[in-house]
Amino acid sequence: MDVPVYYSKAEFIETDTGNKVSRRATIAGPQNIILGGKTIISSGAIIRGDLRRTGPGHAVVISLGRYCLVGEGCVMRPPYKTYRGNFNYYPMKIGDYVHVGANTVVEAATIGNHVVIGKNCVIGKFTIIKDCAQVADNTVIPPNTVIPALALFSGSPGRFIEDLPESTQEMVESQTKQYYSRFQPLER
């Protein structure tokens, strides 16, 4: 019943923890990026781990949880601002079971667990997305927006549309797990 989503085996690198990262994705500053395991980075995605906070020491720039999907052509870029005269980048934290649709630009500060973001969205700087929230396709979320838990946002600018059903958490969890298990290599 579950239709596999095939990818060419040569294109993807699979890590010990089950992350699948496309060779066609641009991963800048990989030492500053954490993938939780079983996370898929699709081809054409750009993840800017190099935009780190100035200062000495090791800094985590982007962390993704388990069972995440960064869609094709997505841009994940940490947010920045000038605070008290100093320009700086700030880390981006993304929880478990988060799907980001194709060609979406994410500059959020925090994304909770079980969040689904559609394709062709723009998630503005320092946006905070709480658990189980969803963003519809083609939505523009202005900077500094807060999306509360279990809310559906849509439109430009993205606005609250409705409360999501109580079982959203289980649904998103099973969908994201299922997507990972459907994502199968194809030898050629």
């Binding site: 095939y6 294109e11 699709s42 008290r84 202005p142 509360p148 993205g158 289980e170």
Partner: protein
């Protein structure tokens, strides 16, 4: 479009009728819901939906600052955030507090601000449409407690003054009538009294102001009201704070001044749209320049109850941003989850095997799943058992008498030629849900591969045995999922959607001695002392997708 299956909630139909409306009627969609949005009442042993549950607010919070507002202060704050949260009057996105530019250091570069928060005055700025509150003359001395700083403007607005006055006017009546209703305890409709005296005053005022409107007299309808006629006469006439004519001075007359403004207007954006003015309780001027930032309306967390037995179905945790529930009785934990697929659809997607990850519903195969009139198609139903006990499921298609009736009489006879659906007639088992299967994705997906192979082999064996691929019957069993096949034969002149009601009944072993006893039907029936078989029946609607007329050859290879 992928085929869908929705579940029936009987709340829309009458007490006696428990069968769902015919699926081709547009109104039937109100009775069918996706499984994940349904609830299940254990006491009534029935499915409940969002349309029929009764909803209670269990807490308020601001959707922007996520502050949990105590319900005592919600009314005083007029259901809006009383902290720093404002939405843009133009585009409704959240406004941000920004400081003014720091003073010029003299060398052409702005000097670095030393203060933590920036330079006053502060103003509200929209990150989406670039509106800012300085445009309309709203600035702040400090960047905190903005709502409190704006409070005096809000309180002095004519509409809120008028509302306060109205409340003042009616308060003594509300108090006396509630007191008197308390003293007249035996009257059954005593709680209606405060409203009836208020409506009496309102209708009196309406009758006075608008000639020809008859007085609505609720008092004449209830005996209790007639006793209280004296009370009604005691109510003095309400005099508004402001005469109607004075409103014109507020720039809302809708004549001379507006025409003048329109004459000078250069772009349509200068007029506030209806949506932007919709929430105002008072007529305001038409210009967007007069719109004010809006305090963000609060959201609420709700608990839900069964409409008939009042048992709680949904009870959220107190914390506003928690997604956990103290009580959550959702239908997905009781009814088997069903998904439907058309193999000819998915085979089409397989054939094109894309090397990159692409979801099967790409725009180019929009019509790949469509069915041609005059052909027959197999379809697959996958049932997933959420219970800890195995179940026996029996499926049957609801007879569509209504369709048949329209066929014989209606002029659109040709368009309604139905299709025939065949399903497995005997009952089949679906294995119990076990927690262990939750973790099968950790062992490298071998299970899935094996199952797929098994399915392929099984089907080829069928082919060898009967010389024909088996389409109707149980096709696959894996973990707590059983896949059954069905077949639909579409008439030559059929149009519309292949959509039919399907009755699903499943039997499970119940541990309860008698079905009438309370505590019936928890999903964890592991101890079986006196095994008793219980049956639950529900309706679903299956939509397999549109039927293409025969003439339209979309794809040469179909």
């Amino acid at each position: 479009m992928a085929p869908t299956i929705h579940y029936y909630c009987p709340c829309q139909s009458g007490e006696s009728v428990q069968t769902p409306p015919p699926p081709h009627m547009a109104s039937s969609s109100a009775s069918f819901h996706p499984l994940h949005s349904l609830f299940f009442c254990e006491e009534c042993d029935a499915v409940r939906c969002n349309r029929c549950v009764s909803v209670e607010v269990s807490g308020y919070y601001c959707p922007n600052c996520l502050f949990e507002v105590p319900s005592a202060s919600v009314r005083a704050e007029k259901n809006r955030c009383a902290r720093n949260c404002f939405s843009c009057p133009i585009c409704r996105s959240t406004l941000q507090v920004v400081a003014s530019d720091p003073p010029d250091g003299g060398d052409g570069r702005p000097s670095v601000s030393l203060s933590n928060v920036g330079e006053p005055p502060f103003f509200l700025y929209c990150n989406h449409c670039r509106w800012d509150s300085a445009e309309v003359g709203i600035t702040f001395e400090k960047p905190t407690g903005l709502a409190a700083q704006l409070q005096k403007f809000e309180d002095s607005a004519p509409e809120s003054l008028e509302f306060e006055r109205l409340k003042e006017h009616f308060e003594p009546f509300l108090r006396t009538s509630s007191l008197s209703s308390l003293s007249h305890v035996p009257s059954t409709s005593s709680h209606h009294l405060p409203t009836s005296s208020a409506t009496a005053a309102a209708s009196a005022a309406l009758a006075r102001d608008i000639p020809g409107v008859g007085k609505y007299n609720p008092l004449a309808r209830s005996r209790v009201g007639r006793d209280r006629t004296a009370n009604k006469d005691e109510m003095p006439e309400y005099k508004s704070r402001m005469e109607i004519g004075v409103l014109g001075q507020l720039g809302s007359e809708g004549d001379g001044s507006d025409v003048e403004a329109l004459r000078r207007m250069e772009s349509a954006e200068e007029i506030a749209s209806l949506e932007q003015r919709w929430g105002n309780s008072w007529t305001t001027s038409l210009g967007t320049s007069d719109l004010r930032p809006l305090r963000i309306p609060l959201h609420s967390k709700v608990s839900k109850r069964c409409p008939s037995c009042r048992h709680i179905l949904i009870k959220p945790e107190q914390k506003a941003q928690s997604v956990r529930y103290k009580i959550k009785l959702v239908a997905a934990n009781y009814l088997p989850a069903m998904t439907v697929a058309l193999p000819h659809h998915t085979q089409g997607a397989d054939a094109t095997r894309r090397p990159q990850a692409k979801v099967p519903s790409a725009p180019d195969d929009r019509n790949a799943g469509a069915m041609m009139a005059g052909k027959s198609y197999p379809f697959h139903l996958a049932l997933t058992n959420p219970l800890y006990d195995p179940i026996q499921v029996r499926l049957s298609v609801q007879r569509m008498h209504v369709t048949a009736a329209t066929n014989s009489t209606a002029p659109e006879k040709a368009r309604r030629t139905p299709f025939a659906v065949s399903l497995p007639t005997s009952s089949f088992p679906v294995a119990a849900f076990a927690e262990a299967w939750e973790y099968d994705d950790d062992d490298d997906m071998f299970g899935l591969e094996d199952d797929e192979l098994g399915l392929e082999m099984g089907r080829t064996r069928d082919k060898d045995g009967k010389g024909k691929v088996k389409t109707v019957g149980v096709l696959e069993k894996r973990a707590n999922v059983t896949v059954v096949g069905g077949e639909v034969v579409i008439g030559k002149e059929a149009r519309g959607h292949v959509k039919f009601n399907m009755l699903v009944s499943y039997t499970y072993r119940s541990d309860d001695p008698l079905p009438s006893e309370d505590g019936a039907g928890t999903p964890s029936r592991t101890v079986a002392k006196t095994p008793e078989v219980k049956t639950f029946t529900f309706y679903t609607v299956v939509d397999l997708g549109p039927i293409l007329p025969r003439e339209e050859k979309l794809d040469p290879d179909i």
